[in-house]
Structures are given as structure tokens and as C-alpha cells.
């Protein structure tokens, strides 16, 4: 494979990871606020279908993306209402919505299956496009891929460098303390759940209006991306930069699968296609290792010096979820 082909391939990886970046960062924001939005898989499918349908009807790609975001926000609003106001299990409502939205997308999308529609076009940035190597990689993408790059920076900046971002972090860690500092915990949780959902709602149209344009029903290949996004959120320790890294890693593994296909024709294509999924999710075991009780007790038994070293190593690879994730907040 020539360098040129490699670069184009990698540029494709960056583009195909775009939806995952939106979805995983959106979920990271929601979970930082303390809510788990398990509906991600269905949400993405529904917003992909809805975005495509809207774009088809209005002949406008912009409207398609807006519709996707709106759908994402609406579905997340249901999750928020059930979790925050009704205090029902977040897993239950998220899981049901994941299946329901998926079936809704197939059902409502049936009439438009296979129809050609508007596509997002590549928008190379003049000047930057001609930089050797980097130009091909970064600056010959479509608008939404640029947006995904920007999102990583924006989300990172928001969470780490702004006042409201600090409050967001507090919400998921110790809502009681955030409340004591004057934050309206419920209202903020609603906001971040819907906002995170709207961001994830942009992932669907990125797929159906750009990467694999059109709506192809069950063969779309989008099914499963939501679960991966959820896993990447954990893998990336709820931090936008690491989460994006996880998204790129996954997209890279998928691309690698395609490449190796031609190198190893004996291996069934489906295996290589499916392989990145379990690989990603099984790394959760690795990064979650530090949280297990037996690890903590064996750690306590070590003498002082080695314990410090191991603890430091564990801290580096370990991800601790926001302490209040999934638990409802009682003002009491």
C-alpha cells in the first residue's frame, strides 16, 4: 500500500469516526451530570432515519442535521423525565427506548429505503488542503467532520476550563455538594441529558447524509454504534480527548478489518467486521480492574512502597466513573 493510499484510508477513518465522536462525547456529558442514557443505539438510528427523511423532504442537508439533533434531544428528554422526575430505573427506560427507537426507525423509514438523497459534500479548506500529509488527513473533509474536531476541543474546554463546566463535574460527583453550592441539580441534569442527546442526534445524520448516504434499513450498518459509543464513553474515562481517542481507535480497527480482508481472504468478512466490537468492550474489563473489591483488598495488603507504585499505575490506567452516576438525587 502506498503512502498516498494509506493517508486517504486514514482520512476516511477520521471521517467515519465522526459520528462516534459526537455520540460518545454527548454521552460523556450526560453521564458527567450523573445520568446514564442507554437509549443511544436506538437514538442514533432514529436520528439517522429522521435526518435523512427531513433532508429528502426539504432538499436541505442543514435541515436534516437539525432534525437529527431535535430527535436526539426529544428521545433524551423522555429518558430525563423518567429518570429525574419519575425517579424510575435509568437502565430500564434507556434499554426500552434503545429497542423502540430502533424499530421505529425501521418502520418509519421503510418508504424511503434505498432512495437517493442529498449528500454532504467534501469541503476542503483552501490553503490548508495542500499541506503535505496533514492536508489529506485533516483538511479535505466535510463540514461535519470538521465540526467533530471542533467538538473535541470545545467539549474539553467547556468541561475543564469554564465555570459551568466545573458545576457539571460536580453534579455527577456529589450532587449534594453541588446543591449546597447553589446549583439546581434537577434542572441542570435535564439540560445536560437533552444536550448530550442532541449531540448524539447529530451522529445519525452524519452517517445517513455523508458516510453511507441514504437509508438502507437493517443493512445500514449503523446498528450497534450506540452500544459502542456507550462503551467508548467509559473507555475514555468520560474525558472528551480520551473518548475521541477511543472513537478513532475503533474506527481504525474497523478499517483495519477491511484492509486485512484482502490480505486474509480465508477469514470470513463478517468476523473481521464484528471483531472490533468485542475488543473494545473487553478492554472495559482492563480499565475497570482497579474498581474491583478484591484488587483493593490485595492492594491494602502490600507493604508501603510497592503499594504506592501499584496504586499510581492503577490510577493512570483506571477510570473512575462519576461517583453519583445512575443514582437519583433526593433533595431531602
Amino acid at each position: 500500500m502506498t503512502t498516498g493510499m494509506l493517508l486517504i484510508g486514514l482520512a476516511g477513518v477520521l471521517a467515519s469516526a465522526g459520528p462516534l465522536v459526537f455520540a460518545a462525547i454527548g454521552e460523556a456529558i450526560t453521564e458527567r451530570a450523573g445520568i446514564t442514557n442507554l437509549s443511544m443505539n436506538g437514538l442514533i438510528l432514529l436520528s439517522a432515519m429522521g435526518g435523512f427523511a427531513t433532508a429528502l423532504a426539504t432538499k436541505s442537508v442543514v435541515m436534516g442535521f437539525l432534525a437529527g439533533a431535535a430527535i436526539g434531544g426529544a428521545v433524551s428528554a423522555i429518558v430525563a423525565f423518567s429518570s429525574i422526575t419519575l425517579k424510575q430505573s435509568q437502565v430500564a427506560v434507556g434499554f426500552v427506548l434503545a429497542l423502540l427507537c430502533r424499530d421505529l426507525s425501521y418502520f418509519l423509514g421503510n418508504p424511503i429505503m434505498g432512495m437517493p438523497g442529498p449528500r454532504l459534500s467534501i469541503a476542503p479548506i483552501p490553503g490548508l488542503r495542500d499541506i503535505p500529509m496533514l492536508g489529506v488527513l485533516f483538511f479535505r473533509q466535510d463540514v461535519m467532520t470538521y465540526a467533530s474536531f471542533a467538538l473535541i476541543a470545545a467539549a474539553g474546554l467547556y468541561i475543564n476550563k469554564t465555570r459551568p463546566g466545573l458545576v457539571l463535574r460536580g453534579l455527577g460527583e456529589k450532587p449534594a455538594a453541588a446543591y449546597a453550592r447553589g446549583a439546581n441539580v434537577s434542572r441542570l441534569r435535564y439540560f445536560y441529558t437533552i444536550a448530550g442527546g442532541a449531540l448524539a442526534g447529530l451522529a445519525g445524520p452524519m452517517y445517513s447524509l455523508s458516510i453511507k448516504a441514504g437509508w438502507k434499513g437493517t443493512i445500514t450498518g449503523l446498528d450497534g454504534m450506540g452500544w459502542i459509543a456507550l462503551a467508548i464513553t467509559i473507555f475514555g474515562g468520560w474525558s472528551p480527548f480520551k473518548v475521541a481517542l477511543g472513537a478513532y481507535l475503533f474506527a481504525f480497527l474497523q478499517w483495519l478489518g477491511l484492509v486485512l480482508q484482502s490480505a486474509w481472504p480465508s477469514v470470513p468478512s463478517q468476523v473481521l467486521q464484528v471483531a472490533p466490537f468485542p475488543l473494545m468492550i473487553l478492554t472495559l474489563l482492563f480499565v475497570n480492574m482497579g474498581n474491583a473489591e478484591w484488587v483493593e483488598t490485595s492492594l491494602a495488603k502490600l507493604p508501603e512502597k510497592p503499594r504506592r507504585v501499584v496504586a499510581k499505575a492503577l490510577r493512570a490506567i483506571n477510570v473512575k466513573p462519576p461517583a453519583a452516576l445512575g443514582t437519583p438525587f433526593e433533595k431531602d
Binding site: S82, Q88, V93, V96, L99, Y106, F107, I281, L282, L284
Partner: protein, 356 residues
């Protein structure tokens, strides 16, 4: 603070659930109208597609069998407070183990009855193993059973596909239609030539749900499961070894899921196919959620869901609608029941406080 006496709170719960069902059907109807499809024609088509003829009726029961088995298993894990999302992978592993057993016996002169029994046992073992893996990840690895289950689902799918396209592929070209069918002798006998309904499978499923009902409601084991599910701290102080009960419930659920996989392989498809679990796992989760994890209603609701699925198969043909309408109805039902329960808690809670 004294609760309301039993009868009236059960009454309000039923009222809210009934309201939820009505609202769900209304919403589904609205969705249909919004897409320009005639709602009553669609419902009629589903009904006809599910029970309109002996053929489709038997298909409905064929779909009911694995769903009922899976739901029965899930009732156990829900009782102990677990979300066994890995159920799909457990079905797949059961199917794989059963296939492996039959392939090993194929060609030999083993009595068919014995062979199928071995296949069933192998299926249960495979499913139980896969489920206990999720349990081990949770107990020793600190991995939430939702993500552990999801991950293992994907591993199971990958394993399945690799087997079908690799070591177990059909001679010549590997095909999406699965492995080579088993020797006819090892096919579970069906009602008649046209139907895929095997009376043995149906009996197994019914026996399973009855056994699970008795287990949960009538045995010491079942009571202890309930205690662990409702208050693990108190259960521990009462002397129950909680992690053992968690693992045991994974094993039971996995075994039933594996049995469902084995049934699909021996009775319905007579071979291993790529989508052997067919979404029955997730559907079972929905049934369990809808019946509030109580075994009494599991069988009829599972039958209803199976009927929806089978009935909807006709929709593309009769009305050019996608068959996922059944999923829409099922999902809306469960969603509204969850919301209704939440609303009831909120409204009744406020009333209770005002009164006391």
C-alpha cells in the same frame, strides 16, 4: 408510616397499567396514521398473520417457545436484581454447544431421542457457562453486567460467524444460510410436515415456566433470591451468601437461554445459522419488564409478543409496511408501563404524605 392496605394499592397499580396499555395503543395508532398507513387494516393484518390459519398459528407457537424459555430465565435474574443483557449471547452459545454435540454424534448410530437430549443438555451447559462468565466479570472484575453482557454478546456473534464460515462451513462455499443441516434422524419431530412446531419443545417451554414459577414463589431458594434482590445488605445479615446466589441465578438463566438456542437448532432450523438468537433475548427482557417480573403473566404476554412478531411478517406483503411495527408496539407498551409506574409513585406518594 402505614402503607395503604393491600387491595387498594393493587387496584391503583392495575388502573395505571391499564391506562398505560391504552395510551400505548393510541400512540401506535397515531404513528400508523402519521405514516399514512391504515391503522385498523394493519392491526387486522397482524391478527390474520398470527392466528389466521393453522400454518401461521403454529408459527406463532414456534416463536413462543424460545421466548418463553428466555423470559423464564430472565425472571430469575430480575428477581435477584440483575440486568442480564448478555442473554442474547447465552442463546447463541447454547445453539453452538447443541450444534457441536449433534455434529459429534452425526453419522453415529445413537438413538435420536438420546442424541437430542444430549444436545439439549449441551445447550444448557453452553448458555450457563456464558452467563456465569458475565457473573464472574461482575463479581471479580467489577465490570457492570450490562456492559459485560453486551461485550460477550458480540463475542458470541463473532464466534458463531467464525464457526459457520470457518471450521463448520458447508463443503464448497461457506454460506449465510448456515452450517450443513443435521441428519434427518436428529431433527426434533414436528406436528406435521408443513409445521415447524415440535410438541417436545412446547412441553419443555411450558414445564420451564412452571418450574421457574414454583422456584421463585415456593422454594427457600426463591425466597432467598428475592431477599438478595430487594436488600442485599439485609440478606447478607440474615445469613445469605449473596454472591453465590448471584452466580446461581446467572447459571439458571443462562441454562434456559441455552436451551432456547438448542431448541432453535434442533427443532426450527435444524442447523446453526448466523442470526440464531434472533433477538429473542432482548424481546424476553421486554416481556419480563412488562409483566413486572412476575411469572404468572409471563406466558400469556410472551405469547402475545410472539404473535405480534409472527403476525407482522405479513405486513410487507399485505400493506407494504415494515414488520418492525411489532417492535414499535412492544416497545411503546413497555415504555408506557414504566412511565405509568413512575407517575403512580409520584402521585400516590404526594397523596400519602398529605394524608399522614
Amino acid at each position: 408510616m402505614l402503607r395503604h392496605s393491600m387491595p387498594s394499592s393493587r387496584g391503583t397499580k392495575a388502573l395505571f397499567q391499564f391506562g398505560a396499555v391504552i395510551l400505548a395503543l393510541v400512540l401506535a395508532t397515531l404513528v400508523l396514521i402519521a405514516t399514512g398507513a391504515p391503522p385498523f387494516a394493519a392491526y387486522g393484518s397482524i391478527v390474520k398473520g398470527a392466528v389466521g390459519s393453522w400454518g401461521v398459528a403454529s408459527d406463532t407457537v414456534v416463536a413462543w417457545v424460545p421466548l418463553l424459555l428466555v423470559t423464564a430465565g430472565l425472571l430469575v435474574t430480575f428477581t435477584v436484581g440483575l440486568w442480564n443483557i448478555g442473554i442474547e449471547g447465552q442463546i447463541t452459545l447454547g445453539a453452538i454447544f447443541a450444534t457441536w454435540a449433534l455434529r459429534s454424534l452425526d453419522g453415529g448410530q445413537v438413538d435420536p431421542g438420546l442424541a437430542i437430549t444430549i444436545a439439549f443438555a449441551a445447550g444448557m451447559a453452553g448458555g450457563a457457562l456464558w452467563a456465569m462468565l458475565v457473573g464472574a466479570l461482575k463479581t471479580f472484575g467489577g465490570v457492570n453486567e450490562i456492559f459485560g453482557g453486551l461485550g460477550l454478546n458480540y463475542v458470541a456473534t463473532a464466534l458463531n460467524i467464525w464457526l459457520i464460515f470457518g471450521p463448520w462451513k458447508r463443503p464448497g462455499i461457506a454460506s449465510m444460510s448456515g452450517t450443513l443441516p443435521f441428519d434427518k434422524a436428529y431433527w426434533l419431530p414436528t406436528v406435521n410436515e408443513q409445521s415447524r412446531l415440535a410438541p417436545v419443545a412446547l412441553i419443555v417451554a411450558i414445564v420451564a415456566i412452571v418450574l421457574i414459577f414454583l422456584l421463585i414463589q415456593g422454594t427457600y431458594f426463591g425466597l432467598k433470591l428475592k431477599a438478595v434482590g430487594k436488600n442485599p445488605k439485609a440478606a447478607f445479615l440474615l445469613g445469605i451468601p449473596t454472591w453465590q446466589y448471584l452466580m446461581a441465578s446467572f447459571a439458571i438463566c443462562g441454562a434456559l437461554a441455552g436451551l432456547a438456542g438448542a431448541v432453535q437448532v434442533t427443532a426450527v432450523y435444524h442447523r446453526l445459522i448466523p442470526s440464531i438468537s434472533s433477538g429473542y433475548g432482548y424481546l424476553g427482557l421486554m416481556v419480563a419488564m412488562l409483566v413486572g417480573y412476575s411469572a404468572v403473566w409471563a406466558a400469556p404476554v410472551a405469547l402475545f409478543f410472539a404473535a405480534l412478531n409472527v403476525g407482522a411478517i405479513q405486513l410487507p406483503i399485505t400493506l407494504k409496511l415494515d414488520s418492525s411495527l411489532s417492535g414499535v408496539i412492544q416497545g411503546t407498551l413497555v415504555l408506557f408501563v414504566i412511565l405509568a409506574e413512575g407517575l403512580r409513585g409520584r402521585i400516590m406518594g404526594k397523596k400519602g404524605r398529605a394524608g399522614s
